[in-house]
């Protein structure tokens, strides 16, 4: 059985516009991952470019659009995505294409940086580590597992239209990860920096993010929590005291 594989190609040094290149691929006897298929195609055509590293779904390098849906190539079985013996591989939507299936992640990382993805706590530590109860640690479940593969943010139409102003599901999930962390003391400042009309509020519950997350996370839920906290902060204006930097 022959499969028809179509790959998005674009070489800035040679091509004026991107195009789809077709390959014929003999359907393997045992099920393989999309990454394995790409590796085999690359043996035929070494110019195909894509990012990959761990091949086990933990590094987030090989996020791409597989038959219309974002996912990690290394943990996506061929059988789960092949449709009528056709497979279309395209780069993550919304981000500038560097070459073939490789996209420029700068805007995505810039939003991640913006939300200050590190613990902020200026209080002195007695014992050598900041203690956290198991109950408080449980609150981080579903938040810390993000591998920053960008499948969610690049599936979000709001992020397509305003990647510089709307922070996006991935970074917002991480923003909430630190807001929810009992060891972080700068909750008020974090919320203050998210209080403008664009950073959080471009989320309209489209839920593409939840549908594509390869780790099964729910950015929509986290964003909902941030919205609730911003709303209750609105009625308690005096809580926001410190820096005006927004």
């Amino acid at each position: 059985m022959t499969l028809s594989i179509n790959i998005y190609r674009y070489n800035p040094e040679k091509d004026k516009f991107p195009y789809m290149q077709s390959f014929e691929f003999e359907k393997p006897k045992r099920d393989i991952m999309v990454l394995e298929l790409l590796n085999q195609l690359k043996e035929k055509d070494p110019t195909i470019s894509y990012r990959r590293s761990c091949r086990e779904g933990v590094c987030g390098s090989d996020g791409m659009n597989i038959n219309g849906k974002n996912g990690l190539a290394c943990i996506t079985p061929l059988s789960s995505v092949i449709k009528k013996n056709k497979l279309d591989l395209r780069p993550l939507p919304g981000l500038p294409v560097v070459r073939d299936l490789v996209v420029d992640m700068t805007e995505f990382y810039a939003q991640y940086e913006k939300i200050k993805p590190f613990l902020q706590n200026d209080t002195p530590v007695d014992i050598g580590e900041r203690l956290q109860s198991p109950e408080d640690r449980d609150k981080l479940d579903g938040l810390y597992e993000c591998i920053l593969c960008a499948c969610c943010s690049t599936s979000c139409p709001s992020f397509w239209w305003n990647p510089d102003k709307f922070v996006g599901p991935a970074a917002l999930l991480q923003a909430y990860r630190f807001i929810a962390d009992s060891r972080d003391t700068k909750t008020a400042e974090r919320l203050q920096s998210l209080s403008d009309p664009f950073s959080v509020y471009r989320c309209h519950g489209i839920m593409n993010c939840v549908s594509v997350c390869p780790k099964g996370l729910n950015p929509n839920e986290a964003i909902g929590e941030i919205k609730s906290m911003l709303l209750s902060n609105k009625s308690n204006q005096n809580i926001i005291t410190s820096d005006k930097a927004g």
Binding site: N67, K69, V210
Partner: protein, 135 residues
């Protein structure tokens, strides 16, 4: 890597967004149709409603004309019924939105279930109203 911000990049880089190819789950379709129905309401349904309010309270004859026209199956009554159905759609998807604001139905499965529920309710309502008009 903050050094990336200063790197000089080529002027043109293509971006892939093809809405016909990218798979959109039901929640996404509900979201975009909610927006479109809102726009339709502002430009069409609302002016129609104002027109109806004005003439239905202007005089007895105007009232009867409106009532007769809207109870017969014709182009005008169909268009007006359709416009109010678009308003109803915006309201139904809006209620779903409000429930998600209070954290009801935020999981993936609950979200698609509520999406299908809204569609079933709306199509049933549309069917009922159109049947009532035409039969």
């Amino acid at each position: 890597m903050s050094t990336n911000h200063n790197k000089i990049r080529p002027v043109y880089r293509p971006v892939y967004i093809n809405l016909m190819q990218i798979r959109l789950p039901v929640s996404a379709l509900i979201s975009i149709t909610h927006r479109l129905s809102g726009i339709y309401n502002f430009f069409i349904t609302l002016p129609i409603s104002l027109y109806l309010l004005y003439f239905s309270t202007k005089s007895y004859n105007d009232f009867i004309l409106i009532q007769d026209t809207l109870s017969q199956p014709n182009i005008i009554s169909t268009f007006v019924t359709f416009s109010f159905l678009v308003y109803a759609y915006h309201i139904l998807t809006g209620i779903r939105h409000l429930l998600q604001d209070v954290h009801i139905g935020e999981s993936l499965s609950a979200s698609s279930k509520s999406a299908y529920l809204v569609l079933i309710i709306w199509f049933s309502l549309s069917f009922l109203l159109m049947m009532r008009l035409y039969l």
